[in-house]
Amino acid sequence: MNITIGHLYPDLLNLYGDRGNIQCLRKRCEWRGIGAETKEFQIEDNIGFSELDIVLLGGGSDREQMLVCERLKEIKEEFKDYVEDNGVVIAVCGGYQLLGNYYQTKEGRIEGIGLVDLYTEQEEGRLIDNIILKSDLFDVPVVGFENHGGRTYINHNQPFGKVLYGSGNDGVSGYEGVVYKNVIGTYLHGPLLPKNPHVGDYLICKALERKYKRRIILEELDDVQEIEANCSIRKRFLKDK
């Protein structure tokens, strides 16, 4: 078996160790004998979504996000078809905001690509801290770091998780991220996947099931170090829970 991971615009969206997410997906495939190829797309490249099994959209500065948003508008339809066809997407920080309808900043409105019905508004004060979630998708909590000025409102959509520590989407609702079909949008970096191997495996599994059109059970890996790193964050910040 093999999968192809598309990394969108790493030149522009590479702010918070996003490469660690790619590295994690690749290694976890490799350790299981699953072929994993990464394709990096630059802003001028054409993206053949039909060749991709996982798409990663990372975070960038506001200025760089603006450049990306212009480009994404041009490939909106193909991207939407990929998502509606259960294509796997992991979108982090700025990438998460771009999935939605718009991001209203003080300077103006950055149009999103509207793949998921959500929107973001910039507010005073950035939400910066370690963060811990309980997601319905997994038994083990998800740990990471958030740093965002935008508050994201996900309408009727399913959140990625309930916030156990930290701020989450808007600092008020108690929820973080979004799950739509096989798309996960989240503010968690750190990066997200290495300390949350269950999330990485979920993405790999969904990608393989879509590609090979059958149920896939991934071989278990020795995740002692991953789980210890995950636990150390939970122990430190969830003292009484």
Binding site: G17, F145, Q225, A229, S232
Partner: protein
């Protein structure tokens, strides 16, 4: 008024002295108290400097460059006020002046050499306007504290524009710094490394900032890179390009320490790390630009031993230990290069904390090119991870297939490698661990003699 000024100075000196006695760094506290007692203290004391004030800004290399500059000026027979310890926010700058003042409340100095945290320039410049600014480079650093580089650049620009007569001595190889110097409207001279030294490394995964022209937004074209985004660049759209280098390091040799020629003068230093060429060159360019001959610069370099955890050397029995600060991807990548220049078998300890001053977000570890430790010629016998975030560091290494030992207590990790190691130990630490680790190494070194 005079009384308040004196009170401020005496109080701060007392605090500085008391903190030293109990072994704590009281530098910033002394400054805070002085400013509280007498808000004009910095304005007045800096005004007593007889000749010029240099400030050093930029993500990496500030402390080394600033201390080198200070030593070079002292070698020219000048008296200098300098914030040696690297306390570089407003309170730290105030401290440097207050602690340098005499009990009569006067500063007796020809020059000031002050490093300033980039974001703090807007707070310091209202107190004094420097004559020169050395701008070393701009890399991503502590995104949780400073935000994106664009924000840092805007703050710097704002500060620079309040000092229109200040001359900027800028690293021309960094497109971000050079653009800032040009955009600020200040006059500037550029230093850099004109020709390519390293063969292009195809599999380099280095993070490069500012791939897009800050002036027009088009992608920058690079003739070559030295490291990170430092290199020879040009924008095909708007014509922005590396400025002509007024101080160009040529004929570089790294066979025995570092050697290069600038303007016909051969500089030789027993330092490791390509990045140190920039530090040495920056201090040289600043002095020359301020009209000094600097004929004894090589002697200055030879004697230079900052003892501040920048490639600081310790000897414990048969073990040579080098302590170095590594606090952001660009700095860490250069640390890795410096370690790889040493071909002897070696042990490495990496200590990562996430205290406020380190930046509490450690995602940058994933932007460091740890793959390079795997190269055979690196001859790394062991890596030990330590500090508050040792678990994260261990995981980082796992994902480049490098096994390591975990020891949260750095003292235990160090002692273990002295007992059972190669006799060649590198200790790479981030900011809040530096002072602590330095003290531990001093202590262990003291026990062995």
């Amino acid at each position: 008024m005079k009384i308040r000024k004196l009170t401020a100075i005496w109080m701060s000196k007392l605090i500085g002295f008391a903190c030293k006695k109990v072994g704590r760094q009281g530098v910033t506290l002394a400054g805070r108290v002085a400013l509280k007692i007498y808000p004009d203290i910095l304005k007045e004391l800096s005004g007593e400097i007889r000749e010029k004030i240099f400030v050093v800004c930029g993500t990496n290399g500030k402390t080394t460059t600033n201390n080198l500059l200070c030593s070079a000026l002292e070698a020219e027979g000048k008296k200098v006020v300098c914030n040696h310890t690297g306390s570089n926010m407003l309170n730290g700058v105030v401290s440097a002046f207050v602690l340098a003042a005499g009990l009569n409340g006067k500063i007796d100095a020809d020059y000031g050499c002050i490093e300033i945290d980039e974001a703090s320039t807007v707070k310091v410049f209202p107190h004094f306007l420097p004559d020169y600014m050395i701008l070393t480079n701009l890399f991503r650093d502590q995104l949780d504290r400073y935000g994106e580089i664009d924000i840092t650049m805007n703050l710097l620009k704002k500060a620079m524009q309040t000092a229109p007569d200040m001359k900027v001595i800028v690293n021309g190889d960094d497109a971000l710094s050079a653009y800032l110097a040009m955009d600020s409207g200040n006059s500037y001279v550029a230093y850099g490394i004109g020709q390519q030294y390293f063969k292009e490394n195809e599999d380099s995964h280095e993070i490069r900032e500012g791939r897009f022209c800050k002036k027009c937004g088009e992608k920058l074209y690079y003739n070559f890179y030295h490291y990170s985004q430092l290199g020879d660049y040009e924008c095909k759209a708007c014509g922005l390009r590396r400025p002509p280098l007024d101080y160009n390091a040529e004929d570089i040799s790294m066979a025995k320490g570092l050697a290069f020629t600038v303007g016909g003068y051969r500089i030789e230093a027993n330092y490791r790390g390509f990045y140190n060429i920039y530090n040495i060159l920056a201090a040289y360019a600043a002095c020359r630009n301020a009209g000094m001959e600097l004929k004894s610069y090589n002697e200055v370099l030879q004697k230079f031993n900052p003892e501040n955890g920048r490639m600081e050397q310790f000897q414990v029995k048969d073990t040579k230990i080098i302590l170095n600060l590594a606090k952001n991807p660009a700095g860490f990548n250069q640390n890795i290069s410096a370690v790889l220049e040493d071909e002897e078998p070696k042990d490495i300890i990496i200590l990562i904390n996430d205290n406020d001053q380190d930046g509490i977000d450690i995602s940058w570890l994933w932007d460091v090119d740890f793959d390079r430790f795997k190269r055979e010629e690196a001859d790394i016998q062991s890596i030990t991870v330590s500090g508050i975030r040792c678990q994260d560091m261990r995981l980082r290494l796992k994902y480049v297939d490098m096994p390591c030992e975990l020891e949260p207590e750095v003292e235990r990790a160090i002692r273990k490698k002295i007992e059972h190691g190669t006799g060649n130990l590198y200790v790479l630490v981030n900011y809040t661990a530096l002072y602590h680790t330095h003290n531990i190494l001093k202590k262990i070194e003291g026990e062995s003699v």
